[in-house]
């Protein structure tokens, strides 16, 4: 099995120092290498790529300072600890200015060396981790930009393509011509919706939601959503059932527009992904101090393997022929963010071929309680 212990290089012209450092470090289960002068030390740094190096400042030939100066170009993350004789502050300070992590004045105890080295290696680990995270972030940003520009460009290219065909006078049949123009128009509508979704996400990410929290009557909001979706549900022959419609005000502290958006999205999906003569059931109920809103459909359902990703940005389940006219994949990620900004939770349950259920939980606001 490979040894992954850190490699420490000791550069000192005095054999006694090399030996005692080696002993101390081996006891800590480090791997140890030594060099007796600056140039040998630099060679070993190149070849062995140690994690830390202990350098004697006063050496004949290539001095400790010269080694220090060469380090940044060899390995900027290498931890350099200098050994200074006679504890002169000046040389220690100069060494630090030249990039040393810390200094060990002679004579030093094993504990002194252990502690400084441990701290130095920990710092190195953190710096490397930060670097890796920065690169990961950049990669994510790049793929985000690619995804967004692809989504924005796609509908426009399609519309341009239709225009190109129409302008070339290729389509003689007026019905077909109308059809093309209508489809081009639909792509543009989809693009507008996409931009709206993006702006929403940006607004939510900026935390702009929290400022607008007020007592909101859930029954009123849900009632409005049901009414708005009524016509399209009828058009798709899907029945809308509303349980919990009756009763007194059901209040939560919320951003009313945000909540309306959430339920419009969930109910719209429930109707869209339903079967003919299917059913959508909206239920509002109370569980202890929580308002529970359940949107249930008798639709195509979602496969088990997709469920964990359903709220992810850009995630779209179906790869059907209609892919290009589908939503942005942002809808459910927006829903989740809005609900979480309300200190709520949203979960999904589904059975392919049977239907899907989205359950939203929001903390209920006790009536009569003062705000703030």
């Amino acid at each position: 099995m490979a040894n992954t212990a850190p490699v420490i290089l000791v550069i000192d012209d005095e054999e006694a120092i090399r030996d005692s450092c080696t002993q101390i470090l081996l006891k800590q289960n480090y791997r140890v290498e030594t060099a007796e002068d600056g140039s040998a030390g630099l060679r070993k740094i190149k070849d062995l790529k140690p994690e830390a190096v202990i350098i004697d400042l006063k050496m004949p030939g290539t001095s400790g300072f010269e080694v220090l100066e060469s380090l940044p170009r060899l390995d900027p993350h290498l931890i350099a600890i200098v050994i200074t004789g006679y504890a002169t502050v000046d040389s220690a300070v100069e060494a630090m200015k030249k990039g040393a992590y810390d200094f060990l004045p002679k004579p030093f105890t094993p504990e002194d060396l252990r502690v400084i080295l441990a701290r130095g290696l920990e710092r190195r680990r953190l710096v490397l981790e930060a670097e890796a995270l920065r690169q990961e972030k950049k990669a994510l940003e790049d793929s985000f930009i690619t995804m967004v520009s692809h989504q924005l460009r796609s509908p426009l290219v399609a519309v341009q393509q239709y225009f190109s065909v129409i302008l070339a006078g290729i389509v003689g049949d007026p019905g077909r011509l109308q059809d093309m123009i209508r489809k081009a128009s639909q792509r543009l509508e989809g693009l507008l919706r996409l931009i709206e979704d993006w702006l929403n996400l940006a607004r939510i990410d900026q935390g702009r939601l929290v400022g607008n929290m007020m007592p909101v009557d859930l029954r009123k909001v849900l009632g409005r959503v049901i009414e708005t979706l009524g016509p399209s549900a009828r058009e798709s022959s899907v029945s809308l059932e509303w349980e919990g419609a009756a009763g007194s005000a059901f209040e939560v502290l919320a951003d009313e527009e945000g909540l309306e958006q959430v339920f419009m999205n969930l109910l719209h999906n429930a109707v869209k992904y339903n079967r003919p003569q299917g059913r959508v059931r909206l239920e509002l109920r109370e569980e202890k101090d929580t308002a529970v809103i359940e949107v249930q459909d008798t639709g195509i359902g979602i496969a088990q393997e997709h469920l964990p990703f359903i709220f992810d940005q850009f995630f779209r389940v179906s790869r059907s022929a209609d892919k290009a006219r589908q939503g942005s994949g942002l809808g459910l990620s927006i829903v989740k963010k809005i609900i979480e900004a309300h200190q709520g939770r949203v979960e999904v349950q589904s059975e392919p071929g049977v239907g899907t259920s989205f359950i939203v939980r929001l903390p209920k606001r006790p009536i009569g309680e003062d705000r703030g």
């Binding site: 190109s164 290729i170 022929a321």
Partner: protein
């Protein structure tokens, strides 16, 4: 062979693009078949034996346009249709240009007979198709 009666298969995941291509190709009296992804395309190539394939290389799925073209040219599953002319269609110019030629061969990719960018100009597309079919 009368090139004007040729059968062209359009493989693209965008239904509007398929619609537009169908209009262009039919206006030039070609017979048109369409497929919505590489898998569907493969099936229709093998069953329909088209005279030319318009292939979108920007479809996202495990089996993309490049690998389908490579399969057609090299896999024994496509023995009967190995020499079917293929024209790549791309929505992003740089990607189309950089991934074939000598470099492409190294990556196990195969060069198409031609490539064209979206949105396509109808007369440009028809001219390229004619040229490729004459070969």
């Amino acid at each position: 062979m009368n090139a004007k009666r040729a059968r062209i298969l359009v493989i693209d995941d965008d239904p509007d693009f398929r619609e537009a291509m169908t209009a262009i190709l039919e206006s030039a009296s070609y017979e048109v078949a369409t497929a919505c992804d590489a898998a569907d395309g493969a099936r229709k190539i093998l069953s329909g034996h088209p005279d030319l394939i318009l292939l979108d290389i920007m479809m996202d799925s495990l089996w993309d346009g490049y690998s389908l073209c490579h399969a057609i040219r090299t896999s024994k599953d496509f023995n009967g249709v190995r020499d079917t002319p293929v024209i790549f269609v791309s929505a992003v110019r740089q990607i189309a240009g950089s991934r074939f030629g000598f470099k492409g061969e190294d990556q196990g990719l195969t060069a198409p007979d031609d490539y064209i960018d979206k949105p396509v100009k109808p007369d440009d597309l028809l001219a390229r198709i004619e040229r490729v079919l004459k070969k």
